[in-house]
């Protein structure tokens, strides 16, 4: 089938079914899955060769893990080690044992039951993470715990798949033993070296050229290259990508990478869900509905229960334990790979449907995830409610974003930093950013007029945006877009001159400061002092001048763009008013000593 036609069908599914799924409150995942079922061999049979598509679509998962890595720097990852390895092992063994027992009861051989059970213990990173993102659980403690477990599963799946030929005992497999391990180690060292030492200079170089699509191309190249490398040494592509992401997490390019890869990740992940939907063999369900559905429900109930039981040991707070179980109760995409390997290794007689049955069970359990969560939310009335304070979103610390880190932004940033306020800084000059990095700022390369970048910098959660961009046009663009996309984000802005001041004020920014105004007033004060005026009085004159000047500019806001006659008249009037004001100030100062307290009324 022509590639174009295929692509058309996939996009059509995405455009039609996903919004529908979201509208019905089922989430995007289910929309994609149903789309997959519809266009797959079982129903419409619109596309064939689902397997090669599934392989391609795995890139979606790879990209997702890369981006998760981007949000976790080494320090954070290290902090999670106990949860990943301790908690991960507990989950894997407990759920694996429970599922193996189920399979034994179902009539499988011991070896098959162990392999199948462990495969069922794995959950779907793609579905769980996507769901967590949609429900804004990704930065909550439950989300973090769930993610640690998923991370461990990604690691554990590798030896599991390697173990199958041994357990199966049929085909000897192609065990390379020590050489394979060595290769794997080499690949990981390679990724670390490239991620740490090579990518940043290259990204910096590309950023300097200002060619945005080349930057995007390089981001994709990076992730694809890693995936390719990992596949060559038979390690998990996702794991490699995750590692690369972690290595770039503390770099200034993190947000730019994130926002550039976001749409690719979304679409490929969608494709991945579609391909999962396509593997759901409706024929098998129609043939043995009781068996399939019964096994699916039994499996889900068992895994849910087991997860609920161990949730406490994993440090999940009491109120969140069912949620935790619901998030990762489904079977995972790795199970497909395991079953495929098992089919070869166990030399099952032709016509044996055990493994395709298990495949369908896993796919169905994945499709059930949104429903389980809806059910959970109904039962526990979490819907629409905010997380309680202790479970509230872990903020990344930066509640202030500074857009533009030139002369003005730097002073603001340094001042805030010194006052203990951590700010995220965006600037489009990579040199500038490199200069500042050693001082421990959270600095990111990118153009703040891009809403996706602001989003990545946390604009949705930030309390304040400081627009310190020097170019009036860009600055106004940022303000306009932010007001549209984040109407609740408070803005403080630097104005280049009065015209820019007026424009920003008219865009609704309450606090605008002309960059040269205060400095000039201070110089004016110094001039007065040099001429013999005492400092206190010079300051008061500057205060009076400021007040009158700001009032004038505010009165003229609407007229600034087209200076009509009225504007000129008003401006003249304002100037006269200022002169009058000064006359009054001067007189009132001179009158001191003969009026009020300065005048002795008894005379």
């Amino acid at each position: 089938m022509p590639a174009l036609q295929q692509a058309f069908i996939y996009f059509a599914v995405a455009v039609v079914l996903v919004p529908l799924g979201s509208l019905l409150g089922l989430g995007s995942v289910l929309g994609y899955l149903i789309g997959g079922v519809l266009i797959g061999p079982a129903v419409l049979g619109l596309v064939k060769g689902g397997e090669s598509i599934a392989h391609f679509a795995e890139l979606g998962v790879v990209l997702m893990l890369f981006m998760i890595g981007l949000e976790l720097d080494l320090r954070r990852l290290w902090g999670m080690r106990r949860q990943v390895f301790g908690g991960g092992t507990l989950q894997f063994v407990a759920c694996g044992a429970a599922a193996a027992l189920l399979l034994l009861a179902f009539g499988l051989t011991l070896q098959m039951a162990v392999v199948g059970g462990l495969a069922l213990a794995l959950s779907s990173t793609a579905i769980a993470v996507q769901t967590m993102n949609e429900q804004h659980l990704d930065k909550t403690p439950v989300g973090r715990t769930a993610f640690s477990i998923l991370l461990f599963q990604d690691i554990a799946a590798i030896p599991l798949i390697a173990l199958i030929p041994i357990l199966g005992g049929a085909g000897g497999g192609h065990s390379e033993g020590g050489l394979g391990a060595l290769k794997g180690l080499g690949a990981i060292v390679g990724i670390i070296a490239v991620g740490r030492y090579l990518t940043r200079p290259i990204l910096r170089f590309i950023a300097k050229t200002g060619l945005r699509e080349v930057f995007t191309a390089f981001s994709l190249l990076l992730v694809l290259g890693i995936a390719e490398l990992m596949e060559m040494v038979e390690l998990s592509m996702g794991l490699g990508a995750f590692l690369a992401g972690v290595l770039l997490a503390s770099s200034e390019f993190r947000h730019a990478l994130e926002s550039d890869l976001q749409p690719f990740k979304g679409l490929l992940l969608g494709l991945f869900f579609i391909s999962v939907g396509m593997t759901i063999d409706l024929g098998l369900i129609a043939d043995e509905p009781v068996k399939v559905i019964g096994l699916t429900l039994a499996f889900l109930a068992l895994k849910l229960g087991t997860l609920r039981l161990i949730a406490g040991r994993l440090g999940v707070s009491t109120s969140q334990r069912w949620l935790f179980a619901a998030l990762i109760a489904q079977g995972g995409e790795f199970a497909f790979v395991v079953f495929k390997a098992a089919a070869e290794a166990f030399a099952l007689p032709p016509g044996d449907t055990t493994l395709s049955l298990l495949t369908v069970v896993v796919a169905l359990s994945m499709a059930m995830t949104p429903f389980i969560l809806i059910l959970h939310n109904r039962l526990f009335e979490r819907h629409g409610k905010k997380a309680s304070p202790e479970e509230a979103v872990e903020d990344e610390g930066a509640s202030v974003i500074i857009a533009g880190f030139g002369r003005v932004g730097q002073i603001i940033g340094r001042f805030l930093f010194a006052s203990g306020v951590k700010a995220t800084v965006l600037d489009r000059d990579p040199d500038q950013i490199k200069l500042l990095e050693p001082f421990g700022y959270r600095v990111f390369y990118g153009d703040a007029t891009r809403i996706d970048l602001l989003e990545a910098a946390g604009a949705a959660r930030a309390r304040l945006l400081i627009v310190a961009i020097d170019d009036p046009e860009s600055s106004e663009m940022v303000v306009e877009r932010v007001r549209e996309h984040f109407p609740n984000l408070e803005i403080i802005a630097r104005a280049r001159n009065v015209g820019h001041y007026a424009a920003l004020r008219r865009l609704g920014v309450k606090t605008v400061e002309r960059e040269t105004f205060e400095g000039s007033l201070v110089l004016g004060r110094k001039a007065l002092e040099a001429l013999g005026c005492p400092p206190f009085e010079a300051r008061e004159s500057a205060d009076a001048f400021r007040r009158s000047n700001v009032r004038t500019v505010e009165d003229l806001l609407t007229h600034w763009d087209d200076p009509d006659d009225e504007f000129v008249a008003l401006a003249n009037q304002a100037r006269r008013a200022l002169e009058e004001q000064f006359e009054i100030d001067r007189k009132s100062l001179e009158k001191r000593g003969i009026k009020g307290w300065h005048f002795d009324p008894e005379e």
């Binding site: 013999g532 400092p535 206190f536 300051r539 001191r592 307290w597 002795d600």
Partner: protein, 174 residues
């Protein structure tokens, strides 16, 4: 030889008719650290460390200012609040100012009779004095007989010169 610091609070020093003459009379004496705080800190951003260091060097601390609304001008009040800190000037066994002498030099618009029982200010001036005196004493300073000059508006040059001389004498100069 004893060292003196003069904390002088006048927001409009060049319009002063009384305090300026007095301040000019003492500001360049040897061993006098003259600190016109309204000139030093026109934005009210008092350098507390510098002020405290100046106090530590002195044996005699002078507060000189016109009376505004029966008490010290806002600037000197703020200076008290910022400079005389807990754990340094008072409280917690702090005694850095202990034994230093404190001289209050102030001028009033009203003449002495305005501070009579039935005068326009209704109370003798001594009623307004304790706040300043107790501030000094609370910081363990030794309170000297203050130099209070009434009727500052109506002084003639001779009177001004006489007060200036008196002031210099109180600072130990001839």
């Amino acid at each position: 030889m004893s060292h003196t610091v003069v904390i002088y609070a006048h927001p409009y020093p060049d319009r002063s008719r009384a305090n300026r003459v007095l301040f000019d009379a003492v500001k360049s004496l040897p061993n006098v650290d003259a600190r016109p705080i309204c000139d030093l800190y026109p934005d009210f951003a008092i350098d507390v460390e510098a002020e405290q260091a100046a106090l530590l060097r002195a044996d005699l601390i002078v507060w000189q200012h016109p009376i505004y609304w029966y008490t010290v001008p806002a600037m000197l009040k703020l200076w008290w609040e910022k400079v005389l800190t807990h754990g340094w000037a008072y409280g917690d066994g702090a005694r850095v100012l202990s034994g230093k002498r404190c001289l209050w030099v102030t001028t009033t618009g009203g003449d002495a009779s305005a501070y009579d029982e039935g005068g326009m200010h209704a109370h003798p001036f001594s009623v307004y004095e304790p706040v300043v005196r107790q501030t000094a004493r609370f910081c363990h300073m030794h309170w000297l007989e203050p130099l209070i000059i009434h009727g500052a508006h109506r002084m003639n040059d001779e009177q001004r010169a006489a007060y200036a001389t008196l002031y210099r004498e109180r600072l130990g100069a001839r």
